[in-house]
């Protein structure tokens, strides 16, 4: 069996940078932090370039474990976007929040896990990639190691993540037991004649347990309960990264697994996911209504968005999957942008996450307030932002595939969500700043990140046609030409 390392070029670049950075850290000590950040950023850019470079019509695979098809490579870009933004934001923030330099390394490793997860075509690789991603996220969550809440969040994430991994692994085991293989394609071929779930209960149970693992990762009800606590406790930098990247990786892999290994049960998992979608967005939105902490509110909002995105998976089909990819990009931009603002507001031991800390921000930091306003509107799905077209695409997919009711429920949810997003915007623009409000510093890299996300949020909201072309090409390996 020939070893085609080219297939893993982006991953290899990341790994190389990881090792370099570790070396740098070992040699340079504390002073090397910034250098590590820049190095990581370079690595991310290189890996992105490599992903695009290898994007072609051929889809070579590595030992039947990962496949470098357009789908995976496109997904790489999404993950790298999240990682790159997070690193950019981190360049200065690690100092302000006194985060260890290893954060950059761990972000890279997590990204590596995401990339492998997005490309994995074998359940063993899926499991390992997921664990790489998960474990590095546990550590990242706990990385503000002199803050109790960061550690608490890490601990909770760890326990529940382990619990959920158990299910995922059991699911893989059952699939293996039912089919004798870990290869997604082989599972798909074996089950091709199946119709109802109860025709092959073992395989079905395997699918279900597998779903639980992914539902946990992307925060779907009722596997989402860790999300608010972990997102709130984790350093904002990390939250931004994992809310966007990990969610994207989970969805990308989920689509590939469902579509490659279980296409014959599309209606069955579709219905289950549709119900889950309704529960998820409703839960997320309703619970977000009462939040005072902007960060925690965004955590709930990320649950709600997972609910919207999963609609695209549930309705399946070309439009459904394409809409998920588009949504993930848009969500990455607007969500990371929003967390960038939260990051800018905070200080060591003064996170300034309460909504009242944002009061009158327009007078203190107009640019920051405008950016946050934009992200809030985008998250609420207001037109001329990426958030609107993302929703539009998902909902139109739902309508096309006969799930109009789902779109209707989702839109009612979008209205609920508008309330809490607007509340933040309202407080920033209409409120009076506290007398003792701590100063806000927007560092240059953070500013770049904000400008980038903001601009892209608007551009994608106005003229997404080129990106949509890319996406439609990217899903071809999954749904056929």
């Amino acid at each position: 069996m020939a070893i085609d390392l080219q297939v893993l070029a982006p991953e290899a670049i990341i790994l190389a940078v990881v090792l370099l950075a570790l070396l740098l850290n070992a040699l340079g000590g504390k002073r090397s932090t910034a250098a590590m950040g820049w190095l990581a950023l370079v690595g991310v850019i290189l890996a992105g370039a490599a992903s695009l470079y290898y994007w072609g019509d051929t889809a070579p695979t590595f030992q039947g474990m990962v496949g470098a098809d357009g789908y995976g490579l496109f997904a790489n870009v999404v993950f790298l976007l999240a990682a790159g933004l997070a690193i950019l934001m981190g360049l200065e923030a690690v100092r302000r929040f006194d985060l260890p330099a290893e954060v950059f390394v761990l972000i890279l490793i997590a990204t590596l896990g995401m990339m492998l997860l997005g490309s994995a075509i074998n359940l063993v690789a899926v499991f390992l990639a997921l664990e790489i991603l998960s474990i590095s996220l546990y550590v990242l969550t706990a990385s503000e190691r002199d803050e109790w809440r960061s550690l608490e969040a890490g601990m909770k994430y760890f326990i529940l993540g382990g619990f959920a991994s158990g299910f995922l692994l059991f699911g893989i085991a059952m699939i293996y037991g039912a089919t004798g293989t870990f290869s997604l394609a082989a599972v798909g071929a074996q089950g091709a004649s199946l119709s109802a779930l109860r025709d092959a209960p073992l395989l079905a149970a395997g699918l279900i347990f597998l779903l639980i693992g992914f539902a946990f990762k992307v925060a779907l009800v009722p596997f989402q309960m860790w999300t608010p606590d972990v997102y709130e406790g984790a350093p904002s930098l990390v939250t931004a990264f994992m809310s966007a990247g990990a969610k994207a990786a989970g969805f990308v892999a989920l689509i590939r697994i469902l579509e490659t290994a279980f296409p014959y049960w599309r209606a069955e998992w579709g219905l289950a996911l549709a119900v889950i979608a309704v529960l998820t967005m409703t839960w997320g939105n309703m619970a977000a209504l009462g939040q005072r902490s902007v960060k925690r509110m965004l955590a709930y909002s990320s649950i709600a968005h997972a609910g919207y995105i999963v609609i695209g998976v549930a309705v399946a089909g070309r439009a459904g999957y394409a809409s998920v990819l588009f949504y993930l990009i848009c969500y990455t931009l607007m969500n990371v942008g929003a967390f960038a603002v939260i990051l800018a507001m905070g200080h060591k031991s003064a996170p300034n996450e309460d909504i009242d800390d944002y009061a009158g921000l327009i007078r203190r930091k107009p640019g920051l307030a405008l950016a946050m306003g934009l992200f809030m509107l985008a998250l609420a799905g207001i037109p001329l932002t990426a958030g609107f077209l993302a929703k539009l695409y998902v909902f139109s997919a739902a309508v096309v595939e006969g799930y109009a009711w789902l779109a209707a429920v989702a839109l009612v949810n979008a209205v609920i969500s508008a309330y809490y997003y607007l509340r933040v915007a309202g407080r920033m623009f209409f409120g009076e700043a506290r007398a003792n409000a701590s100063p806000v510093h927007v560092s240059a890299p953070l500013g770049v990140a904000l400008a980038l996300t903001g601009l892209l949020t608007v551009i994608l909201g106005v003229y997404p046609a080129p990106l949509l072309n890319l996406i439609q090409a990217a899903i071809r390996p999954i749904v056929g030409f």
Binding site: K156, I159, A205, L207, F223, D229, W283, G290
Partner: protein, 638 residues
């Protein structure tokens, strides 16, 4: 002039514009003269048209001005119609207006909003002439509401006084009720005939046989408008209050011109009314009953102008009685004479007020005959005219109506009208005697300054007095040797469709009967005057004794049958209460409550979900386990 009839409209409009925008630069005299001149020009034009029309064979002239509204099959053209009816009206309106304008220069001389007053008056003339000359009923409606507006503005001219502002609003609203009826009538008319043009409707009514119900409905809806504008039962309540306005306004708008618009409108659309005998009966009945009803109230009031106001309502009732029995010409005849003598009465009252520093209570007058002799004589002439003293204007016109009513077989209404004639003579001479005869009951302070009005006021009055005397001779009935010229002239407008019944009755009634009735009405009038003399000059203690002996009935009449109170309690207050109820108990708590309730419910559910978020990892794990079990069950059953 017939080729440029719009000039008649233009002059007052120019007056409005000039006075509204640059009037304050003209000074009082200038503004007054300008306004009067404009109306004077208008009057000249009207007379000119009238004369020209006389010389024509076909006395119906229409002059289109411009297309107003065209929507699908609904086309309204602004077009002027000059025919005998409108030409007479135009002359009367512009003529009386002209005189009153001049009178106002004196009367309003000391008012700070002098210019505005004349702008309003000009606007009124414009609107009234529009109403009169319009060929299309929707344009009539424009004038109709326009005069209503001016009435509103002029009643509330002294808007600092709450009573004046209230009265203006009341006038507008009560008229609005009628106007909506009018508007609905127009809509039904359009749906029925496909047009609102007089000439087209006229043709249709002559050609088409309608379902009687439709004709009745249209006629009654239009009549609702007339009832509002012409202050008939049940919509008369605004007119007495309208006396809050300056007296020239009362004279012009609330006596001579605007309030007669209803009569004019019924006459204008008489072909339609003629299609529905039941509608006509309603008109006659309401007219007759109103005439009597208002006259009874006039007997008891102490406010000089209010007595005159009720008198106006009563006289308008006569006019409706006339048109209601199909005697359209008689109605218009009475309208004309009434314009003269009622305007004169009001101007006289104004002159009295002028002399007494605005005093209106006749109990605080008396003995003014010598102090303001010109006013006295003029007032007396007007009183005689309205009372139906033989030879004066009111005598001929009122008698024509009485006769036609009798001839039309409406004996009960005739009797009522005859009785009313007596009451009229009584209450009008009650005024004459209480104001000008007997002891002076005038306040000492005021008495010192009593003076005759300036010439600018007395001359117009004198002119009107002349017309009050001779105005009747345009309609002297045949039995008195006259040709009843006006009836023949108006035939050009009103002769289209005289109800067969009325014509038949008239033909059958003998000249003897007519004479008898004539004499009877003269006797009644004279008896009324005599009784008033007894009550208010000879035995001044009688009125209070009679009042006491009548007890409750008197106080009921004195309180105007408490109709205002009734409307207040039955309509205004309940509607406001409903509004209050809607505003306080429905809109906020219920309608908004449901919307807010949904929001609150969502928030509550959110708090419930937050409570599930306990912060304990093992609770969360339980959630995962529960989800796993549920999904597993799903896998087993699906």
């Amino acid at each position: 002039m017939l080729n440029y009839p719009w000039l008649v409209l233009l002059f007052p409009l120019v007056g409005v514009i000039i006075n509204a925008f640059v009037g304050r630069y003209l000074g009082k005299r200038g503004a007054g003269i300008l306004a009067s001149a404009m109306v004077g020009l208008s009057f000249v034009g009207a007379v000119w048209m009238f004369v020209e029309l006389l010389g024509l064979e076909d006395r119906v002239v229409t002059r289109p001005l411009f297309d107003w509204i065209s929507v699908g099959d609904f086309n309204v053209q602004v077009k002027l119609l000059i025919d005998p009816l409108s030409s007479v009206m135009a002359v009367v309106v512009s003529g009386v207006s002209f005189l009153i304008h001049i009178y106002s220069i004196g009367y309003m001389a000391h008012d700070e909003r002098f210019v505005r007053f004349f702008a309003y008056l000009n606007l009124f003339v414009f609107a009234m002439l529009t109403l009169v000359l319009a060929e299309n009923l929707l344009v009539t409606y424009v004038g109709w509401e326009g005069v209503g507006l001016c009435s509103y503005l002029l009643i509330g001219f002294w808007f600092e006084r709450k009573s004046a502002a209230d009265a203006g609003k009341k006038a507008f609203l009560v008229n609005r009720v009628g106007d909506v009826g009018f508007a609905l009538g127009l809509m039904l008319m359009f749906v029925t005939f496909g047009s609102l043009s007089m000439s087209e409707v006229l043709e249709s009514t002559l050609a088409v046989r309608l379902m009687p119900g439709v004709a009745t409905a249209i006629a009654l809806l239009l009549f609702v408008g007339a009832v509002g504008k012409s202050a008939q039962i049940p919509l008369y309540v605004w007119l007495p209050d309208a006396m809050e306005g300056p007296t020239p306004v009362s004279a012009l708008i609330h006596a001579a011109t605007m309030v007669t618009a209803g009569v004019y409108m019924v006459a204008r659309t008489h072909t339609l009314f003629a299609l529905s005998p039941s509608a006509l009966t309603w008109v006659a009945a309401i007219g007759g009953v109103t005439a009597f009803f208002a006259a009874t109230i006039a007997l008891t009031q102490h406010d000089l102008k209010r007595v005159l106001a009720y008198s106006t309502i009563s006289q308008l009732g006569y006019m409706f009685l006339g048109v209601g029995v199909g005697a359209y010409a008689a109605g218009i005849f009475h309208l004309t004479t009434h314009a003269f003598f009622k305007a004169l009465l009001f101007l006289g009252a104004g002159s009295v007020m002028h002399a007494l520093a605005g005093e209106l209570d006749i109990r605080k007058m008396g003995g003014l005959r010598s102090k303001i002799p010109v006013t006295f004589w003029i007032f007396l002439i007007a009183a005689l005219a309205i009372a139906g003293f033989p030879g004066l204007a009111g005598f001929f016109s009122k008698d024509e109506i009485l006769w036609q009513t009798f001839a039309g077989g409406k004996t009960f209404l005739w009797a009522l009208a005859l009785l009313t004639a007596g009451l009229t003579a009584f209450y009008v001479f009650r005024l004459v005697f209480m104001v000008f005869y007997g002891e002076s009951r005038v306040d000492k302070k005021v008495a010192a300054h009593v003076h005759e009005s300036p010439r600018v006021m007395t001359v117009p009055m004198a002119i009107l007095a002349v017309f009050s005397v001779i105005g009747g001779y345009i309609g002297v009935p045949k039995i008195l040797g006259g040709g009843n010229w006006i009836e023949h002239y108006l035939d050009g407008s009103l002769g289209w469709h005289a109800p067969e019944a009325a014509i038949a009755e008239t033909a059958h009634a003998s000249a003897g009967t007519e004479w008898a009735l004539l004499i009877l009405s003269v006797i009644v009038a004279l008896a009324g005057i005599a009784l008033a003399y007894v009550f208010y000059v000879r035995r001044t203690d009688l009125p209070s004794r009679v009042a006491k002996s009548l007890g409750g009935l008197y106080s009921l009449v004195y309180n105007k049958y408490k109709v205002d109170e009734l409307y207040m309690a039955a309509i205004v207050k309940p509607l406001r209460a409903i509004g209050k109820f809607f505003a306080d108990s429905v809109d906020g708590p219920v309608v908004d409550g449901i919307a807010e309730g949904i929001a609150a419910l969502v928030a509550l559910m959110g708090r419930g979900l937050q409570a599930l978020q306990t912060g304990l990892a093992r609770n969360y794990a339980l959630g995962i386990l529960a989800g796993a079990v549920l999904l597993l069950v799903y896998a087993l059953v699906k």
